[in-house]
């Protein structure tokens, strides 16, 4: 293989350098030119593959697989290479828009650190093997002959949906295991639980565009929470006249907070109290009727009057009155609660308090809509949070698994050190990682099976957060696989299934065949306007989305019993906020150089971790921007340089997620720190989620390390009187552009 490759390259050299840049750019790809030993079969570019027109880029539709949002994308393909991704306007999820990570999925595809062939661990060392050998091994360890069945198996994955989810479920059913853990370190699990309990719908559709006021308790809905690009497209309408007001209450300014009309720093863990205090003002000042609420809720609302709330939350009474005033005056409003509200022992209660505001203000049904009516529950997104990680670890402790599969997730990286996941995994006899990269989890595995990139693979995706017109997204390969010894995720599971259920699945040569068959089986209602299955398939692939119609149903409103907690000021002086950013998210994008090089929107730091502090907190510790601090929790310590600004609550210290990889390729490895590692294992009382915003830490200044610098874009932090970013008031906006 490599010999052939060499010769082909030499041949290209002979062809002349002049045209290399443009006409033969896909030279690393085994496509049209083949050179065999002693015999050269030269296919001129004058007669290329039928669909390749030299110099002309063609856009193909597919789906971005960087996160679970399921944004439709168009990929520009030229001379057999995919060059650029753009949002697919046909997809109502993102309406032609794309986030930084979506743009950078090209680098996940072309990443130089991809695993190119299966590996097996023998005597502690990885050895390269073929897929046949790998499956022989799988057959031995996990096939019928292994004698293992049922709950001896576990599968840890990220969010899965579409036909991959169907196949995965089929495999889990085939082996009879119930242990499929969907782990997402950055998640909205508590919000979903509250929605399920109070609205009867786990994924109510948010109508950011319809809202006139949005009050968000730490929900970074423009960047990491929910379906960020979908929310952003709606936010664009939210900001057009009549312009909505965004209020963000959180301990650390997120990207959403940076765009807020009013950003209030709230003491970590006091979000629920703040929500109730706002409700209190709504009742006492604006005479909102709460008689229909349960007595327990009414009592709590009354308990948090202004003075009381201001003391507990650190938010001034003025601000609380103002927020309540805005919510009262302008409707409909939308109250959201995200990671920083949910990540506490009583996070559920805080989120419930926020949801109570939605109910009080009559938002349910207006800005929160039902998502019911997706006709294919088996295709729906299966998503999760950190609870699954904790459950998995607990199950490991009881030594219940013989074989564990990992796909799309990196729990060894995202698990807190206190969970001792690495040690617990060590006792599992056989661990299989389906992955593109040599990440921390793959390094613990016994068998590493290289997956194709999302741009080389087939699939269907169903977004968890659906737009008004619900859809199934198509994923198709945009180019030939870069590495022949990689397999698609669907293909891999199909191959697994053939180990156990050969009669049912042997009819399918590959995942593509399976998909075609599955599409033929889709109900005729979806295929309106097409005359044949082939035509339906072609249309789906061309368009990239299959519309399955609008959602139906109404949301219920049921006020659950909840008791908000006041933040306890105990132990160490600071609360650690492990903040997620759109660039690196939970660390899964840390190996993409573009996303490392793009400055963090708030601190403008690149290629590193940092710690954010409020100036008054910094003064207490005696540090200034660029000084190094040690952040110590009960379970460990991390060190980072500080960035000081006024977008922090003085009790909080924020360290971004995403860095501190011990593996994961040249761009990620050995860079910064991972704040998840020092988190405590306290859980949210009602959902069992990890209370990841509740870890108390001690912050001390330490000496600088030689050569270590905080690399940050930007000289001056203020405009120095130049009119660079000018600001006008909303009144002016309403006067000039009010009736746009």
């Amino acid at each position: 293989m490599s010999l052939d490759k060499m010769k082909r390259r030499e041949f290209l050299k002979v062809l002349g350098w002049g045209g290399v840049g443009t006409t033969l750019a896909g030279c690393d790809m085994p496509t049209t030119v083949t050179v065999q030993e002693g015999k050269e079969e030269v296919v001129a570019y004058l007669a290329p593959e039928e669909y390749v027109i030299p110099g002309i880029g063609v856009w193909y539709a597919t789906t971005c697989a960087q996160c679970g949002s399921g944004c439709g994308v168009h990929g520009r393909v030229r001379e057999g290479r995919v060059l650029k991704l753009e949002g697919n306007p046909e997809s109502q999820v993102n309406r032609g828009k794309l986030c930084p990570a979506g743009q950078a999925s090209l680098q996940a595809h072309y990443n130089p650190d991809r695993i190119t062939a299966p590996r097996v661990r023998r005597n502690g060392q990885f050895e390269q093997i073929s897929w046949e050998q790998a499956f022989a091994l799988l057959d031995e360890k996990a096939g019928p002959s292994s004698g293992l069945a049922g709950d001896r198996f576990a599968w840890v994955s990220d969010t899965v949906s579409g036909h991959q989810a169907v196949l995965l479920k089929a495999w889990m059913d085939a082996i009879g295991s119930r242990h499929h853990y969907v782990h997402e370190a950055v998640n909205d699990a508590v919000w979903r639980a509250v929605c399920r309990d109070m609205l009867g719908d786990e994924n109510p559709r948010l109508r950011v565009d319809k809202a006139r006021v949005i009050l968000s308790f730490g929900a970074d809905f423009l960047s990491t929470w929910g379906s960020p690009i979908h929310n952003s497209t709606q936010y664009s309408e939210f900001r057009t006249a009549p312009r909505g007001v965004l209020i963000q209450a959180e301990p650390k300014m997120t990207v959403t907070g940076a765009s807020a009309d009013l950003w209030v720093p709230v003491r970590p863990g006091a979000e629920g109290v703040l929500a109730l205090a706002i409700a209190n003002v709504l009742v006492s000042k604006h005479h909102r009727d709460i008689s229909s609420l349960p007595a327990e809720a009414q009592e709590q609302i009354r308990a948090y009057d202004l003075d009381n709330a201001a003391r507990i939350t650190g938010v001034t009474g003025e601000h609380i009155i103002r927020i309540a005033g805005l919510l009262n005056e302008r409707g409909p409003s939308l109250v959201l609660a995200g990671a920083s509200a949910a990540g506490h022992a009583r996070g559920y209660d805080s989120v419930a308090a926020a949801m109570l505001l939605n109910i009080m203000l009559g938002n349910v049904g207006k800005t929160l809509e039902s998502s019911a009516g997706f006709p294919f529950p088996q295709l729906a997104a299966k998503t999760g949070g950190n609870k699954e990680l904790l459950d998995f670890a607990a199950a490991l402790e009881s030594k219940s698994f013989d074989v564990v599969f990992f796909s799309g997730t990196n729990p060894v990286y995202t698990a807190p050190e206190a969970l001792k996941l690495k040690d617990k995994l060590a006792v599992v006899p056989f661990k299989v990682a389906f992955t593109q990269f040599d990440d921390e989890t793959a390094q613990q595995a016994d068998l590493v099976l290289p997956l194709r990139s999302a741009l080389e693979d087939w699939g269907t995706h169903v977004p968890a957060a659906q737009p008004e017109q619900m859809q199934i997204n198509m994923q198709q390969p945009l180019m030939e696989p870069l590495y022949p010894e990689t397999r698609g995720f669907g293909d891999a599971i199909l191959a697994l299934l053939k180990l156990r259920k050969a009669p049912q699945y042997s009819a399918y040569d590959d995942y593509y065949a399976y998909l075609r068959n599955a599409f033929a089986a889709l109900p005729a209602a979806l295929k309106l306007g097409t005359i044949s299955d082939q035509q339906f398939w072609t249309r789906a692939v061309q368009k990239g989305v299959i519309e399955v119609g609008a959602g139906r149903g109404n949301l219920a409103t049921r006020v659950v019993s909840f008791t908000v907690a006041e933040p306890a000021e105990e132990g160490r002086p600071f609360t650690l906020v492990p903040s997620a950013g759109a660039n690196l998210r939970d660390g899964r994008y840390a190996n993409l150089p573009w996303l490392q090089e793009v400055p963090d929107p708030i601190s403008k730091v690149v290629w590193d971790s940092w710690a954010e502090l409020h100036p008054s907190a910094a003064a207490k510790i005696g540090v200034k921007t660029g000084d190094r601090v040690r952040i110590e929790s009960e379970h460990g310590a991390i060190e980072a340089k500080v960035y000081i600004y006024k977008g922090m609550h003085p009790d909080a210290i924020a360290v971004p997620l995403g860095q501190g990889h011990e593996a994961y390729g040249r761009y990620a490895q050995g860079r910064g720190v991972n704040p998840l590692k020092i988190l405590g294992l306290a859980t949210e009382t009602k959902t069992g989620e990890l209370a990841n915003h509740a870890t108390r830490v001690q912050v001390t200044r330490i000496a600088d390390k030689a050569g270590d610098k905080l690399v940050k874009l930007g000289g001056s932090e203020v405009q120095l009187g130049r009119k660079l970013v000018a600001t006008v008031t909303a009144d002016v906006f309403a006067r000039t552009e009010g009736e746009a």
């Binding site: 000289g715 120095l720 660079l724």
Partner: protein
């Protein structure tokens, strides 16, 4: 010797002048070789740095965004400035009949040529793609592509090119009679060289008459040229839009600064030559004294222009320029800025004292200090504006890396090397003009002869009251 009051000893014999000057061109002594080795060492530092920079990219000089220019351009202006001294001494003082310039103008003129040859290297070194440097010249190309005539950098190329040619020509023309003396005293290859160079100079009346005219014309041509060269260099900055650069007084300021550093350079070389070649008879203390007075005057002009700039910025309405000015006095660059003001405006006051003006060692140190001040001046023009101007997000301070320093230091080696070659090839004291000077001084009493002699030589009339009276009578 410090009680000497005459510019030159009028009793020196012609033969002794020839002997003294030609001796300086004879086999070098140890000191010379040591100097050559030192200069070569410095130069090789620069060569190493430049090769490294050429291969790796400009980034190794720690130039960056937004500090795109660094010491290279600062040092470029510095060397261009140094070049103005020669023109001042040989041309301006020539047409203003200050005959005390005569023993020292030759090496000053050589300094002009060599500093230009040094300065010219810097814009080339600082180019990102220096192999394309000739694109700034208006050569004919089939593609009809010309340089951008609106760019001050193109003006620079023209100005420096013209100035270098002219000053080299001026140096050469002025040396012809001396080259003939060398020819008459030389053997071997030197004989051949000087025979060719002296262009058949015999010293007859006609040749002297033409020579005088050519010299005068060149002098008149050079003066506006020299003034324009540094004005043009200043337009690199003055024509821009950036605060701290967009300054109306920059052209005179640059010219004053240029003359200033040039004079200081002359004093340094004066001391060195006097010491190495024992030129005590020609490079006398009264001449040093006069040069120092001239330097002092120029220093005051320079100081005045600085004050003009500060006050016009201070009372102007350009907020950003004012901010930058305040930053220069108080910001990161302030130590260097204050050092520049101290060295450039305070240190010259030592030259108000005759004792210091006539002290060889003191003036050596002072002249070097003045030039350090002037070099800092150039850097303080280039650096602060780049580090902080209109866009606050682009504010950044960075310091030159070793590559830049090596090249800057190496440029002194390059200049020194050129100068060392010069002193062995061309007489560094003008023999014929020293003779003239002595002749004039001796014959001021014999007015008739003096006036006759001058008329025949086609020279300007001898200076001094006595001379003028002589002509009248």
């Amino acid at each position: 010797m410090s009680d000497q009051h005459k510019d030159i000893n009028e009793d020196i014999r012609w033969a002794k002048i020839n002997e003294d000057v030609l001796r300086s061109m004879e086999n070098p002594r140890m000191g010379y070789w040591v100097s050559v080795v030192v200069c070569l060492a410095l130069l090789s530092l620069a060569v190493i740095a430049e090769v490294y920079q050429y291969n790796t990219g400009m980034g190794v000089a720690n130039l960056n965004w937004p500090q795109m220019w660094g010491l290279y351009i600062a040092t470029f202006i510095f060397w261009i400035g140094m070049s103005h001294s020669g023109t001042l001494l040989s041309a301006i003082l020539h047409i203003t009949h200050a005959d005390w310039r005569k023993p020292i103008y030759r090496f000053a003129e050589a300094m002009t040529t060599f500093t230009l040859m040094t300065a010219g290297l810097f814009p080339i070194i600082h180019l990102g793609r220096l192999w394309n440097m000739y694109w700034v010249l208006p050569y004919y190309s089939d593609r009809g592509i010309w340089p951008n005539f609106r760019s001050p950098l193109v003006w620079d190329a023209f100005a420096i090119g013209t100035y270098l040619t002219s000053s080299a020509l001026f140096l050469y023309i002025g040396s012809i009679p001396d080259l003939a003396i060398c020819r008459d005293n030389a053997r071997g290859w030197r004989k051949k060289l000087y025979t060719a160079l002296s262009l058949g100079w015999r010293g007859d009346d006609r040749q002297w008459r033409h020579f005088r005219k050519a010299y005068l014309i060149m002098a008149c041509f050079l003066i506006p040229l020299a003034v324009s060269v540094h004005s043009i260099v200043s337009s690199d900055f003055a024509m821009s839009i950036m605060p701290g650069w967009h300054v109306t007084t920059f052209p005179p300021y640059f010219v004053a600064g240029a003359l200033y550093s040039g004079c200081a350079g002359i004093i340094t070389l004066f001391v060195l030559l006097r010491y190495y070649f024992r030129f005590e008879d020609y490079m006398t203390l009264p001449i040093l004294d006069k040069t120092c007075k001239l330097t002092f005057a120029i220093a005051m002009v320079w100081t005045y222009l600085n004050l003009v700039e500060f006050s016009s910025v201070w009372y102007g309405h350009d907020m950003v320029a004012k901010e930058l000015l305040i930053d220069k006095f108080t910001g990161t660059y302030s130590p260097y800025f204050w050092a520049m003001l101290f060295l450039g405006s305070v240190v010259p006051f030592t030259m108000a004292f005759e004792k210091i003006r006539r002290s060889i060692s003191a003036m050596f140190v002072i002249s070097i200090l003045l030039n350090i001040g002037m070099w800092l001046d150039r850097w303080m023009i280039v650096g602060p504006t780049l580090s902080a101007s209109y866009e606050p997000f682009a504010f950044s301070v960075s310091w030159p890396s070793w590559v830049q320093w090596f090249i800057v230091i190496g440029s002194f080696g390059w200049f020194g090397l050129l100068f060392l070659v010069f002193v062995k090839v061309i007489p560094s004291v003008s023999m014929y003009e020293v003779k003239e000077m002595i002749f004039h001084r001796r014959h001021i009493a014999h007015k008739d002869i003096a006036s006759v002699m001058h008329r025949r030589a086609g020279d300007a009339k001898p200076s001094g009251e006595a001379g003028l009276e002589g002509v009248k009578s």
